[in-house]
Each structure stands twice: as C-alpha cells, then as structure tokens.
C-alpha cells in the first residue's frame, strides 16, 4: 500500500519530508509516466508519495532588484503568462509538451526530473538559475548546474524540497532558443540549443551558449564563453569555425529511438555556427 500525503502548507510539507520516506510529486507529468501501471490500476509508486501542488506559498512568482523568484509548484502555463519571467524562458516553455501538460507540469519538476532532454534546463543553465531548497533545518541556495549532478541525479536530501527557482535579472542584446524535436508539438527533444549575448558599442560584454540532449546534462562552458568576452562582434564572428571546434569535444550525444548521434552532433554545432554568424 502506498500512502499519499497532501500537505496544505510548507511547514506541514517539510515536517512530512523530515518524518517520512516519501517521493515528492509536483505536477506529476513525469512521475506518473515513470510509475505507470495497467489501466484502471493505481499508479505504481514504489514508495509513499507527497503531493505538493496544494501549497499556496509555492505558487508565487515575484521579483526584487536582482532576481525573479518562481515558486516550485507554479505551472509552466502560469510562468509563461507572468510578465516577470525572461522571454527566453517563456519561449522555451511554449515549445514544451502540449497545452494540457503545461497547465500541470512545473519548472521545479523539470529540474527535479533531471532528464538530459529537459527543455527548460537549457535556458535555466544559460541564465545561471539557482535552486532554493528547504528543509525543517533551514534554507539554502545552489546553482542549478551544481544541483543537477548526472542523468536523473540531483543534489537533494530526502528531507529537502525545491521551493523556488531563482533567475538572475540579466539583460541581453539578444537571446535565442531552438528546440529540435521530432515534431512541432508534444515531443521530446532530439537536441536543443540556447544562446544569448550582450553587446556594448560592438564589444561582447557577455555571451552564453548552452546545449541540451547531447550529454548527460546541459552543456555550458563558461571557460569557452570567457574567451570571447571583450572582443568585438566582428572578431567573434570571424572566429566561428574555431568556436565550433572548441565545443565539438563536449557534444557527446547518443543513438536512441528518437534520433542518432551524428545528427544530434552535427545540428547542435550548426545551430552554434548560425548563432555566432548572426550576432548583430
């Protein structure tokens, strides 16, 4: 028998996490699939579960001077409708799943699932997003890129809950997300790419590049980005082939039922090339 807990506020939830051995379910759109069983049978959870989607405190989106805070049970649809959320993330969400799933699924869930094909992870890595975790012992923040430690592996203790996704407010000259899925809607990515840059007087002040579905986690290389900062846009554009070569070794996709590694790699690098060539 599986016991279901449905806490109505955060304190109650943290207490349950502390006292019991439970799996956390937010929107459930991945959890239900992963634990599916026969039609008209209960979901095949292998442990007790805690449904957090009724916790009002986690449904807020707000900002201060430096960050936008997204509560961990905000639906993707709610995030897409918020005026506070960066366009890059909204554009990404628009390409995720289907409207029905977007009304239930959460951003924190996409993070917690830590799939190599998690679409929202790509812009979130690019935006240097942070994850706020809470337990009855207290609260901590960790960079998303440290939070996700491998395929479906995250840095979350059993008594901890993701409470917020925190996005630094950054302005870019241009930001860009491209999902390459097998069809235009309701599909898991073959690969995805996000790029953003900030120019001041033709000088590159900031440039960020991230790839999804081509390695165990999102590929983002700050060391390579830093080599470009301070150069003029024309200098960067002239380096395009060199830049593509830098990234080549980090794009390590696999063959699976959705695509093959040759395509994933080649198109990822093509999107990078096209992004650099189109810096304006």
């Amino acid at each position: 028998m599986v016991t279901s807990y449905i806490p109505l506020n955060l304190d109650e939830c943290l207490k349950i996490l502390s006292d019991k051995q439970v799996r956390i379910v937010a929107g459930g759109t991945d959890m239900l699939i992963q634990n599916r069983s026969h039609t008209s049978m209960p979901i095949g959870f292998k442990s007790d579960v805690c449904y957090i989607s009724n916790i009002e405190e986690l449904k807020k989106i707000y900002e201060d001077e430096t960050f936008v805070y997204i509560g961990s049970v905000c639906s993707l649809e709610a995030i897409m409708e918020s005026e506070l959320v960066p366009e890059l993330l909204k554009n990404t969400i628009l390409e995720m799943a289907s409207p029905a799933i977007r009304h239930t699924a959460t951003l924190a869930g996409n993070i917690g699932n830590a799939s190599p094909a998690g679409d929202s992870l790509v812009p979130l890595y690019l935006l240097d997003a942070l994850v706020e975790k809470r337990s009855i012992k207290g609260v901590s923040k960790v960079a998303l890129s440290d939070f996700i430690t491998g395929v479906r592996k995250i840095d979350l203790e059993k008594d901890e809950l993701i409470t917020k996704v925190i996005i630094p407010k950054i302005s870019f000259t241009k930001s860009y997300f491209k999902k390459v899925g097998p069809r235009l809607s309701d599909a898991i990515s073959k690969l995805s790419f996000a790029g953003a840059y900030k120019l001041e007087n033709d000088l590159v002040k900031d440039i960020r590049i991230a790839f999804g579905s081509v390695n165990v986690t999102v590929v983002r290389r700050r060391d390579l980005e830093e080599r470009l900062i301070g150069k003029t846009k024309d200098e960067v554009k002239k380096m395009v082939s060199e830049i593509v070569d830098w990234y080549e070794e980090f794009i390590k996709p696999i063959d699976d039922q959705r695509s093959n590694k040759e395509y994933r790699k080649s198109i990822s690098l093509k999107l990078l090339r096209s992004f650099i060539e189109n810096i304006e």
């Binding site: 039609t39 491209k178 069809r183 809607s185 039922q257």
Partner: protein
C-alpha cells in the same frame, strides 16, 4: 430530391462527443476476470520448460492445451497458432493467458513465470522467401532487349496504425454460446476463426462489435488471434473475461505495415518506358497471414497510374523473426506508389525531361490495359484532375521557382486505388449477404459493416433513407452482432460503400416497391459484374471492378539548419465516383492524407533484434495539428455503374499519394534524390552530405 452528397451531421457525433458511446473497456460485467498475456522473451527458439507460480484460488492459466479445436488462427493463410505449442518465432509471441479477478495479482504472477528456452539465432535478413509471385505483360523481358536501362531501388519502413483505442475484447458465456464483444473491423472473421479454434458449431459463437476507436486495418485480422485466445479461456473458465492491451503491449506485438524494398528497371526508347522490371520484397514478419495478398496488391500497382506495355514483375514475402505484419489502410499500395512515383520522377530527371510531362505521356486512359491485362473500363479523369490541381496550387510556377531557390519544394503524386477485393474475391471468398428489415415504421439495416470512425453508420442510414425517401431517424443501424446480421464481409479494402452499399441499395429499391407492406425482410447477395475475369495464379484479367483516382500536390519548406520539414499546404483532387456524404469523404481525404504524409516524412518505426524501438505514443511520432497544414480538396464525380449512386472506394485512396508527394517536394527542396521513406531530418542530412541530384 436533394443531391445525396450534401452533408448531414454524423449520426454518432453526439454519443462520441458526450462520452456516451461505449467502447469495449467501458463494459464491466459482473464477476468479470482479467486476462494478461504471457509472452516469449526471445525472438527464436523452443520453450523447454515453463514454471508458473502457484495460482491463488480463482486464477487460471490458459494455453495451447486448452484449445478444443484447431490451434491455428483462421485467416487467409493459416500459419499462426492461437497459442504456441513451444516454438517461438518472434519476440513477445503469446504463450498463454493468466486470468483472474485482480489486476495487481495478475501483474505479480506474470512476473513470476519462469520460462527456459533453447535459443536459436533469429533471422532478420530478408532471405527466407515464403511467398513468391511472378507475372509478365506483353513480351515480358524479351521486350527489354536493346533498350536503354535505367534502374533505381526504393525502400519503405514500418508504419503503425496508431488507433486511439487499443485492441481488446470481453468474452462471456451465454448458455451454450461463447460471446465476444470487441473492438474489431470484421465480426465474421473473428467468428469464423473462433468457430475453428473451439471446434464448435457456428450457432455457438457470437461476435458483437463495440464502438470502435479507430482501426486503419490494424483490427482486420489481428483481433482473430486474441479473440480465439479469449474464447478458449471463456470456454474453459465459463466466466466473463476482459482482454484489453495496454498501449505499449499493443505497439510491440500487433501487426504493422510491411516494410518493403522495390528494385525497378525501366527500359526506355524515345523518352518512353516500354518495359518495366520490378523485383519487390516485403517483410512478412514471423507469420505469413495476409502478407501474400498485400504483396499481390502491391505488384498489381507496379505501373502506378501509367500504362507500360511490357512487364516482368516478381515479388517475395520474406519471413523474419519479427512481429507479424498485416493489414493497414492502403494494403501494399502505399509502398508501391511511393516507389513507382519516385521512379518516374527519377527516370525523367535522368533523361532530362520534365517529370510531369514524362508522367503525362505515360498516363493510363479509359480502355487501356492494366498491369494485369484487365481494362480501365470507366472514364479516367486524371488529365482534368491534374489541370485542376495545377490551377489551384500554382504548381507549375512554384516548381520552376523552387528549382532556383533553396530549401523550398513542391511535389505532385498521381495514383489510384483498386476498389474492393482482388479479382473474383468477392464472389469466391466473401459472398456478401445483406438484409433490410421493415418493421412497421422502422427500417433496419442488417449488415456486418463496422463504423470505426469512417462514418459507415451515417452514410448507410443516409443511403437507405434517400432511396426509400423516408426520414433518416426511421432507419436503424446498430453495431453488428453475428446473431442478427448476415455476413456482408469484412470492413476492409475500400469495399464497404461500393460493394456492400451497392447490395444494400438494391435491397432498398426492392423494399421501396413493397413499402406499403407492414413488416418484411429483403435479402440480397453480391452479384459479380459479368466483365470480371481474373486469374489469381497468373495475375491475368481485371484485378479490380473499379478504380478510384487521386492527385496530391504538397508544398514544403526544409529548415536549412536542422533539416526539419514543414508542410505548407496541400492540394488534392479525388475521383471516388460519387460522395455519399461530402463531409465524411472530406474527413477521409484529410485524415488519409495526413497519415500518408506522415508515412512519408515523420513516422519512424524500427526494430532492433526483433524489438520494436518506438513502443509508445511518445516515441512513435504521428503528426499533431501543429504539424499539419491547410488542405484544399476537390472531388470529381465519375459515377460507377455498380456502386450506389455511383460511389467507389474512399477509405484507402487518400493515404496513398501523401508519401511520394512529400518525398518529391523534399527532393526538390534539398536538390538530392530521395530513395526511401520516411524522409527524416537524419536522412536529409545524410543526403545533403553524400546524396546525388
């Protein structure tokens, strides 16, 4: 009187939209048990030992030892056991059913079944030919001598029917009877198969159709297998039992469209193909089943919509240790029309001629001989249809313009579909019977035709009410039940309106003459048009009583970075004789084309060591509304003498042209020759890197 084509609301709209319609999973009978299938975990070998866990009270195992009659599923070619006796020929082959009241318990029991195998090396190569056909036309290969040879090879892969509702039945005992209620296309196929498996009298088997949530051929012969299994179980246990597949189970084990390979050699003189050699192979999977018929229908279509005087045509069904392939909307034609349309395109390009002009020069006309020396007896409207599609799509200008541009393309496919069974199949095998019953102010249509979404309930009630000149509400058409309806044949082969509707129309006309009688029954049987003479062995004569024709134009754009294809718009013209309801035909036109286009560029299904890799709707990509485009469709009336109001076949035609048209459009967009479908971005990348123009 109103033109019959003018659309009415589909009669089942309300039931289906409100949720009132009952599908097989909606029936809960008292004391109903559930059946789970024990399946092989290897692709080839022998079962040495099966150890079942100890069964709790009220749980049962049913296997081949329980089959009271013949342990073979009755289909056209009988080589599939109801339950294997020990020989394993494909992965997940059914071995037995575990049956009981609790799904959770069944799930646990299923995991504890231990099977010891003697494994053998499975065969996935196409080497084991189990059906071979060959036929000539004209002088055959003698005509090829001294002519310029142009040869190309084409490949198609699996397609999955992807009906919304998975396969399923409920079976229950009724006195001496075993009754099956199921999601099926062919009530009498199931009944006849169960009669054989149970070794029972016909009266002791009853098959009822529940509302069907899509079929596309996938519920033609496959339900006979699980229907027999369940009937055996009901006979043994004497309780109601439900057997319904989960989605993944359904996609892993049920029949799919046959992958194909076609080698063409065209023999050319003065820019005309005078001779054609074709060597065709299809992958039958582990059982032959309907594969021979699929192959023969593919071979008959080898010249496409064209006339070629000399043919040397051969083909094989290869047996492999993979999931058995079977019926799917189009039944061999989609594979062959892809190949032949691409071949004409490629030969024209090789000869330096405009492909459309080349195709028009070969187009079949009324009174021309078909590939099997039958005759296209009815007017062929293709020239007018092509003119219409060119006018509405601006094909000629686009074709010219996109030759100069990059990543945009337009393609046109020309095709037909032979309506009904091949040759004398209707007369010799099916012998369709229909009944119309008048009971006071109501008229009952008693036929075995299944509405699987294609609108048969609406179009037949409309047909009968139109002839009788009575309100449609007075015409009743319930889901077929073999205890009450005669065998009007299976709901397949684009035959339902043309053949069954033709007989029903005759019955209705007779009823009309006697309409002042209060209660009576009119019974009618299929009568073969006198002109049909076909020899199945030699492929000689009229293979079909009539042909429906079509033209598709498809415009695409290919993303220059990702090679993703987007379909901008389609234009289609169809000659289906006469539409019994225009909106229903338009639904078939749009749905069929979407399925055909997706076959051509989107739907990837492959097996790895006999295991289907795309086993759910997440991984098997069918188009969403976002992927499809505006579709402009026109119908040309061309009444067929033996169809009701002139109606010919509709259901399959609209699927056939999609794949070649989209492949040709992509070919133009990427300036590389396309030789296989689906034309995925991965394949486009390969072509851009290594292909030829």
């Amino acid at each position: 009187m109103k033109d019959i084509s003018i659309s009415i609301n589909k009669v089942d709209n309300e039931d289906k939209c409100s949720g009132k319609a009952k599908y097989v999973a909606d029936y809960k009978l008292e004391g109903m048990l559930y059946a789970f299938t024990v399946r092989s975990q290897i692709a080839k070998g022998e079962i040495l030992k099966i150890e079942y866990p100890e069964l709790p009270n009220g749980y049962y195992v049913v296997d081949y030892k329980d089959v009271p009659g013949k342990n073979i599923v009755k289909v056209i070619y009988e080589d599939m056991p109801v339950f294997t006796t020990g020989k394993i020929t494909y992965l997940y082959e059914p071995i037995s059913l575990i049956i009981g009241p609790e799904k959770q318990v069944l799930n646990d029991l299923l995991k504890q079944v231990k099977i010891t195998y003697k494994e053998e090396e499975p065969v996935f190569e196409w080497t084991d030919s189990v059906v071979h056909y060959h036929f000539d036309k004209g002088l055959g290969e003698k005509a090829f001598q001294g002519l310029e040879k142009v040869e190309y090879d084409y490949k198609t892969s699996y397609q999955e029917q992807a009906y919304i509702e998975t396969q399923g039945f409920i079976g229950y005992p009724e006195k001496d009877k075993v009754t099956l209620l199921g999601s099926i296309q062919c009530p009498y196929y199931v009944k006849n198969a169960v009669v054989q498996a149970l070794g029972e009298k016909e009266d002791n088997v009853r098959v009822i159709q529940a509302t069907v949530g899509g079929a596309f051929g996938g519920k033609e012969e496959y339900p006979s297998l699980i229907g027999c299994q369940l009937a055996v179980a009901v006979k043994k246990i004497k309780k109601p039992i439900q057997l319904i597949f989960e989605r993944e189970e359904d996609m892993l084990v049920t029949t799919k469209r046959h992958p194909s390979r076609v080698h063409f050699e065209g023999y050319v003189l003065d820019n005309k193909i005078h001779g054609l050699k074709a060597v065709v192979g299809i992958d039958g999977g582990a059982n032959i089943g309907l594969s021979g018929v699929v192959l023969s229908r593919a071979l008959i279509a080898c010249t496409g919509a064209y006339k070629i005087d000399n043919l040397d045509i051969s083909g094989d069904v290869f047996r492999t240790n993979t999931v058995p392939n079977g019926a799917f909307r189009g039944f061999g034609a989609p594979q062959m029309f892809f190949a032949v349309e691409m071949f004409f395109e490629h030969v024209a390009k090789k000869l330096g001629i405009d492909p459309l002009e080349f195709k028009l020069n070969h187009l079949a006309k009324q009174n021309d001989f078909t590939s099997t020396m039958g005759i296209f007896r009815d007017p062929v409207l293709m020239p007018e249809m092509i003119t219409k599609v060119i006018e509405t799509s601006d094909y000629l200008n686009k074709r010219k313009e996109y030759e100069k541009s990059e990543f945009k393309g337009v393609g046109m496919s020309l095709f037909f579909h032979g309506c009904g069974f091949t040759g004398s199949g209707e007369q010799n095998h099916i012998k369709a019977k229909v009944k119309l019953k008048k009971d006071k102010d109501k008229v009952y249509i008693l036929i075995a035709a299944v509405d699987m979404g294609q609108g048969v309930k609406t179009s037949f009630r409309k047909l009968v009410s139109h002839i009788l000149e009575i309100d449609i509400e007075r015409v009743i058409f319930d889901n077929p039940d073999t205890d009450f309806v005669p065998d009007s044949g299976p709901t397949v082969a684009s035959r339902t309106m043309m053949i069954v509707g033709g007989i029903v129309a005759r019955a209705a006309k007779e009823m009309k003459d006697r309409f002042d009688e209060e209660s009576f029954v009119v019974e009618k049987q299929y009568v073969q048009p006198e002109y049909i003479k076909y020899d199945e062995a030699t492929f000689k004569g009229d293979a079909y009583p009539a042909y429906s024709w079509g033209v598709n134009v498809v415009e695409v754009e290919v993303d220059k970075d990702t090679y993703q294809v987007s379909i901008k718009k389609t234009w289609s013209v169809y000659d289906i004789g006469k539409a019994i309801d225009e909106r229903i035909v338009m639904g078939q036109a749009d749905g069929g084309l979407a399925q055909g286009l997706a076959y051509g560029y989107l739907e990837v299904m492959e097996h790895k060591q006999g295991k289907i890799m795309q086993k759910n709707m997440t991984d098997y990509i069918i188009p969403t509304a976002m992927d499809m485009c505006p579709m402009e469709t026109y119908l040309f009336d061309n009444p067929y003498a033996f169809g009701p109001y002139g109606a010919k076949g509709v259901g399959e035609l609209s699927l056939i042209g999609g794949a070649p048209a989209v492949a040709m459009a992509i070919e133009q967009a990427i300036k590389r020759r396309v030789f296989k479908i689906p034309v995925t971005p991965e394949y486009i990348m390969e072509l851009i890197n290594n292909g030829e123009n």
